[in-house]
Symmetry: C2
């Protein structure tokens, strides 16, 4: 039975790493004292060790031990044996490239589908979708595929935000980018604002946090959904 | 002898399509009345025909005829015979995917290296660099490679901008993204602000327009260069 938290961000403005969601995480990971951390997305290019320390500092507050997957001889077995998994944010291309390189896409999908609790933030949430084609990240490495874990039947756009109303910048808004995506792809996209997350529990997929989320379906006007709404019908 | 304009954007705030650079383009394309337009980047997913009309409307003001490459039976021959080439902006992934699909990377590189004037804006500028790994665009299609035309010995970041100083958004700034790029890649990146362009003329590469550009070299503090500075030493 799937049990997945798909969070827009690890950190909200003016708050510490994972601080806004720690109470939720204490409940979510209540059945394990140890969490397998996948630090491959390397935000700002930091090392796997340093990123794991950041995660450990946050999880110490709810008495969890964090083990970086890079410290295991066999990462496939590490995932199979994990009682809880956290995939942190950073660069989605770097993350998915490492998952392919280490042969972890299949085992991650299987293990999480079978019920191991999975927390993703930002890039770690992006990869829960059908593919990474709605990431906001710069494509700094070329991965063997854009296909992702397919744990939900749509795509995720984390850190979703509206355009700056007074901006003079001519780059595309997030909404324009997702509309372009739908010229070439048909799956729905869930725009998750910072502070929101999806909770996948068995067949239910519920929006959590205090904010609405923006849903993009091909050939439809985008619309908002409220917290506690189930969106498992989207596909 | 190379003759290339690499523009950050087609359009600056409060001005029409290509309007800010039309006088320059009249000079740049002075030896031809016809321009081959490559509309593959499809901004907002518009059709090749409609995008070509947009380009034609602008170029009509300097008495040039615009021919969309999609109207030719053989796009390779269209490029070889062109007297001037314009690759418009839109989505860099869609653009490079179509160039690979139609087998045009090699012939574009050769034709432009041999002296056919080439104008790129935004995505059309991105592809002048070594690869597209510093595009700002959403990866809405999976291209067979991120390698680009390699017409200059560095990468381009168009629409370059500073972070919003009062933003509460936790997504990465442009500068953070380029720093992440340099954890995995070594070539310099030229951050071109909207209204700036590079003019490649034989071996010289000169910044043009009224604004400075920001240069990112691996293991160096980023720095600004002034207009009229030659940056052909960057590699």
């Amino acid at each position: 039975m799937k049990n997945i938290l798909i969070a827009s961000t690890s950190t909200i403005h003016g708050s510490g790493y994972l601080e806004y969601i720690l109470d939720e995480l204490a409940m979510f990971f209540k059945d394990t004292q140890e969490i397998l951390f996948i630090p491959y997305a390397r935000p700002s290019g930091i090392s796997h060790d340093n990123y794991t320390k950041t995660a450990q500092t946050a999880f110490s507050k709810i008495n969890k031990k964090v083990n970086g997957i890079h410290t295991y001889e066999n990462p496939v077995i590490a995932i199979e044996k994990a009682k809880g998994i956290f995939v942190g944010g950073g660069n989605t291309f770097v993350l998915i490239h490492m998952l392919y390189k280490n042969g972890l896409i299949g085992v991650l999908n299987k293990t999480v589908t079978n019920g191991t609790p999975y927390l993703g933030t930002s890039a770690g949430s992006n990869i829960c979708g059908l593919n990474i084609k709605t990431t906001n990240d710069m494509p700094i490495v070329y991965p063997p595929s854009f296909d992702a874990l397919k744990l939900v039947p749509f795509n995720i756009n984390p850190h979703f935000l509206e355009p700056e109303s007074n901006s003079k910048h001519m780059g595309e808004s997030r909404e324009t980018r997702i509309k372009e995506f739908h010229k070439f792809n048909t799956q729905p996209v869930v725009g998750l604002r910072e502070g929101s997350w999806l909770h996948v529990k068995s067949d239910a997929i519920t929006l959590r946090g205090n904010l609405t989320a923006r849903i993009f379906e091909v050939n439809k006007t985008p619309y908002e959904i409220d917290p506690e709404i189930d969106i498992s019908h989207l596909k």
